[in-house]
Subunit: 146 residues, 2 copies
């Protein structure tokens, strides 16, 4: 007996919530994303709260986060005062960029430390350089795809 499509959908939404957590996003934001991916339609603000069974406050912060990230877009329906939301054109590219920004930040910190260490401390600078190189490589890898 195979699972019903409704169960598959529910489980997927929860799983995307967990994936989001592993990417340092709030779980509700992930579930919202999962919902929009699976259903592929626009949801109104209140429909989101209803579908995910969370407070309007949570929807508000999740949609502004995902909108800022470029994962979803706010749309409007004629004759309906509510905001509607749908997946944006390229929802996933953001995640590359997020990872890239984290890497850049770490890289910058390490580089600044290395520059601050006197030139004659060669071993320290060498170890910092190696650490830095890791992020250089990561940035390059992420850059090539996004």
């Amino acid at each position: 007996m195979s699972r019903s499509i409704a169960v598959i959908r529910e489980e997927f939404i929860e799983q995307v919530g967990l994936i989001a957590q592993a990417e340092l996003l709030p779980r509700i934001a992930g579930r919202l994303m999962g919902l929009l991916i699976f259903d592929g339609k626009e949801y109104s603000f209140s429909e989101l709260a209803e579908a995910l069974q969370v407070s309007r406050g949570s929807i508000s912060s999740s949609v502004s986060l995902l909108t800022a990230m470029g994962v979803i877009e706010r749309t409007a329906k004629p004759g309906d005062r509510q905001d509607y939301f749908k997946l944006s054109e390229d929802p996933y590219n953001t995640f590359f960029q997020r990872a890239l920004r984290r890497a850049e930040k770490a890289h910058k910190t390490i580089q600044e430390t290395r520059n601050a260490v006197p030139k004659d401390k060669r071993e320290i600078r060498g170890r910092l350089k190696e650490y830095e190189n890791f992020y250089t490589a990561l940035m390059k890898a992420l850059d090539s795809t996004s």
Copy 2:
């Protein structure tokens, strides 16, 4: 007036703690790593607790985490009962692998969902495929470097 090397060191250690947090690791584990990178020498178990000003319990969990990850190695000094720790040969490669494993897990989840969705639900499967493709690309990018 430039900062003293001691201050630069302290700040670096704290910064690596923050970088670690952004990579989903406990802050103390990051500070420990920062300490070993900067100083480039072996530290004993109790020296680590002293240097980072944390409990032995924290050192214990941090060293086992970092050891399991392959970031540090446990060593021994003749005539000293204590465990010593140093950066491993290739401490940074682990981070690629970590990211890779996260991506693989997400990829697997999405793929399983897609396979569970009936073939005639073409739009749903299509959207899942796109989501899956993101992780395929990420895996490829990470794979090329590590």
